[in-house]
């Protein structure tokens, strides 16, 4: 019996130590210092504006070693061509998946921000997979759906009205080299009883990097594959910055963000994406806009 007692006490202390000392992976919390030189204002406008057409965000979670991912990229092109000016795409390479490991480490498109967005939207399912306006559709387990559903869900979302307009302006910083100031002007055209978030992201296109091709392709890796809409950075929190709870009709936010370009990024091929969305219980996108960085 003494042996059992000793065993149990050692087991209990061991369990306690293991459990408490385990380092858990927490959620993304932004500890970047806030740049107070940037403009940040909110007010209620006395002027109502005409709501813009609802645009749709397609986030394509993809990877360099994912053989079927070029099909998703092609699908994104098809949908964009079919709905000119209404589709904003982002190709996101999340970390922690063998398919997203680059063939050439110099051309690594994985980002912490992209990984965090992948986690927020469910982190489940085989690549290629994507979200359409970050909506969890009826019958789906999370916001991530296979490419065969994309067209149908995009068509559903395009029929909706947007309760908010986004206007983006990008200008070179006056004093800092390779730096741009992004000014986002958001105006709610109807009142909304919910928390609303703003995400600003930087994407880059025309990036040539080796890509595994669908099974049966010869060669199986295309060394000159062109990647478009690659997520490079998120200027806000990856899950968005809270604008406010229950914004009123004609509530306006004007916010500036600053981004210094990495040496590997080509500003001529970069775009800025602005998204107004929910966060927490749902991540539904109300509106998305895109402009060229330059």
């Amino acid at each position: 019996m003494k042996t059992i007692h000793t065993f149990l006490i050692v087991f209990f202390i061991g369990l306690l130590t293991i459990l408490i000392s385990c380092e858990e992976e927490g959620p993304y919390i932004n500890f970047d210092p806030i740049d107070t030189s940037l403009f940040d204002s909110t007010y209620i406008s006395s002027t109502s504006i005409i709501p813009d057409e609802k645009n749709v965000l397609i986030e394509d979670f993809t990877g360099a070693r994912c053989p079927n991912c070029p099909n998703a990229a092609a699908k994104l092109v098809d949908i964009t061509m079919a709905n000119p000016g209404r589709i904003v795409g982002m190709a996101i390479h999340p970390d922690g998946i063998p398919f997203t490991r680059p063939h050439d480490l110099e051309k690594d498109f994985r980002t912490d921000d992209g990984t965090e967005i992948f986690k927020l939207l469910g982190e489940e399912g085989a690549l290629p997979i994507g979200s359409i306006d970050r909506v969890k559709y009826s019958g789906e387990t999370n916001q991530l759906v296979g490419i065969s559903f994309w067209t149908n869900y995009v068509d559903q979302r395009l029929l909706l009205a947007s309760p908010v307009n986004i206007s983006l302006v990008s200008t070179p910083h006056l004093t800092e080299a390779n730096t741009f100031v992004i000014r986002a002007e958001v105006q709610f055209t109807t009142a909304i009883a919910d928390d609303k978030y703003l995400t600003i992201a930087l994407t880059e296109s025309d990036l040539i990097a080796p890509q595994t091709l669908p099974q049966g392709s010869i060669p199986d890796v295309d060394s000159n594959y062109i990647n478009n809409h690659i997520l490079r950075d998120v200027l806000t929190n990856p899950g968005g910055n809270l604008l406010m709870s229950n914004p009123e009709m004609n509530r306006v936010f004007i916010k500036e963000f600053k981004i210094t370009m990495d040496a590997k990024w080509n500003p001529d091929n970069c775009a800025i994406v602005g998204i107004i969305h929910n966060s927490g219980l749902s991540f539904d996108v109300d509106q998305v806009e895109e402009i060229h960085l330059k």
Binding site: M1, L15, E24, G26, P33, L242
Partner: protein, 521 residues
């Protein structure tokens, strides 16, 4: 087919002869009569006009198995949330229990606790509409009569579903005996609660909206551990428990922001009991010891643990008016209670409670004294006085001044014969704050074992919140037949804090008819 049914009957019938079926039923029904003068104007007074709650427990034991199910019903009920009209019904509790040698297995819902409940207590309180049952697996193993271990995993019941957060725990207890006069019981326990991803996403979104210096990375996992010990020596009993929990996101004192804070509790009591004399001393220091299923749970929702109250549990209505609950974010509380009976005819009781917040600011005190005297075989009387200081802002989150009361009270019981008796109470609460002074008078006539009648009136004699003197009268009748008891009361109740066992909530005023039925079988 008939052969199969008959065969099954032949097989099962010996088991059925050893089977036991038992259960109980409780029904509450309220019929609402609007009274705007006392604030009895909830939705039930304006639209539904009546509400019901019912619980029916069935226990079935056969072949060493114990099956339990409970049917719950809420129709237009304000019980779970006084500001809500809640309607639902169904099986709210089900479990199977089986003892295999020294291993006790429960699958389904169960109630349990570790030590005094400071890190874990799953319990039910129907008066407050609380049901903290765990739906999961609970295992207990007795190595010997004095060495036990138990472990569980599951999720806390949330009405007819469960909360999303997973809990697990382990508890070890060992008893030591050193001769006839000295015994020592020790125990230790660990609880782990894991937030679900959806809750964490919402939490992270909120924290990301804070000023930079107030942001922190919240933890999915909360760990809480306790060590407790009871030492018995002759007439003395000494209990001490220390519990510590890891940092997690909890609401600050103002309730408007999350902070990342750990917590601990030290609780100790010393009791002495001999013929005619009982002494009890208690002390508790609490810091940041909120334990909920989720960081977003508030008030009485999702409470995992139980904090022993540090005030006298009052049975009389006016002395109980300013009862307190433990302040889990921080308090230092002490209590001393003495009961002295020099002979069978006389008993003196005294109680002192003193509570400060964690910055040593007084938030509550109670001085209580009563004297019980038996005048003969027919007449018994109790006389007492209580004075209370009660920080209303702390305990009720109301921006109102602290309440100071002085409450003399008396109770008489006169037995006409073996069956008939009359009991009457007179109480008066003096206060310059809150609702002002109250008088309470009650006359109760009992004809054992079947009937009980009472008339009571609680009068707001010097009202500070309403214009006129208000009467909160109560006409009550109860009928008991064997295990079944019916009661019916027409009453008006003032709004205020209702506490049972140190767990409290603010309840709105009531005006109308209350029906209650309890039975067991």
């Amino acid at each position: 087919m008939r052969k199969l049914v008959f065969g099954l009957f032949i097989f099962i019938s010996p088991l059925l002869s050893f089977a036991q079926l038992s259960g109980d039923l409780m029904v509450n029904s309220n019929f609402y009569v609007k009274d705007t003068s006392i604030g009895a104007t909830n939705s039930q007074y304006l639209r539904e006009f009546s509400s019901s709650e019912a619980w029916m427990f069935i226990n079935y034991s056969v072949a060493g198995f114990k099956f339990s199910v409970r049917y719950d019903l809420f129709n237009n009920s304000p019980l779970l949330d006084p500001n809500e009209v809640y309607t639902d019904q169904g099986l709210a509790f089900y479990s199977v229990n089986k003892k295999v040698g020294k291993l006790d297995i429960t699958a389904g819902h169960f109630y349990d606790q570790f030590g005094s409940g400071i890190i874990f207590r799953a319990f039910e309180d129907r008066i407050l509409g609380l049901d903290y049952a765990i739906n999961g697996l609970n295992l207990k193993y007795d190595f010997t009569d004095d060495f036990r271990i138990k472990a569980f995993t599951g999720r806390q019941k949330n009405r007819f579903t469960t909360h999303d957060q997973v809990m697990k725990g382990i508890n070890l207890e060992r008893d030591f005996y050193f001769g006839e006069n000295l015994s020592w019981y020790v125990g230790t326990g660990l609880i782990n609660r894991t937030l679900d991803k959806q809750t964490m996403d919402i939490l992270a979104s909120e924290i990301n909206s804070y000023p930079l210096e107030e942001r922190f990375v919240p933890k999915y996992n909360l760990f809480s551990a306790t060590v407790y010990s009871t030492l018995n020596y002759k007439n003395f009993n000494f209990y001490v428990e220390y519990a510590k929990k890891t940092a997690e996101a909890i609401r600050n004192l103002e309730g408007n922001k999350f902070i990342n804070e750990d917590g601990d509790v030290l609780y100790t009591s010393l009791n002495y009991s001999t013929k005619g004399l009982g002494v009890s001393l208690q002390h508790k220091r609490t810091k940041g010891f909120t334990m909920r299923t989720s960081s977003f749970s508030s008030f009485l929702v999702g409470t995992i643990n139980y904090m022993p109250p540090m005030s006298k549990q009052q049975a009389k209505i006016l002395p109980a008016r300013y009862s307190i609950s433990a302040q889990e974010l921080g308090e230092i509380a002490s209590q001393a209670e003495i009961t002295y009976s020099p002979n069978k005819k006389n008993t003196f009781s005294a109680n002192v409670s003193y509570v400060t917040d964690d910055h040593n600011k007084e938030i509550y005190h109670e001085y209580y004294l009563d004297y019980y005297h038996k005048f003969g075989k027919k007449l018994k009387a109790t006389f007492g006085v209580q004075t209370v200081y009660y920080d209303k802002e702390v305990y009720e989150n109301e921006n109102e001044p602290a309440v100071t009361t002085f409450t003399p009270f008396s109770e008489f019981v006169y037995k006409f014969d073996r069956k008939k008796s009359v009991r009457w109470e007179i109480q008066y609460l003096f206060t310059e704050q809150d609702h002002g002074d109250f008088f309470f008078g009650l006359v109760e006539f009992n004809i054992a074992p079947h009937y009980s009648f009472s008339i009571a009136d609680m009068i707001n004699t010097k009202p500070l919140k309403v214009d006129d003197v208000k009467h909160y009268y109560n006409f009550f009748v109860a009928y008991t037949l064997n295990q079944t008891r019916f009661s019916l009361g027409y009453m008006k109740q003032v709004e205020g804090v209702v506490c049972t066992g140190g767990v409290c909530r603010v309840e709105p005023a009531f005006s109308g008819l209350k029906f209650n039925l309890t039975t067991s079988f």
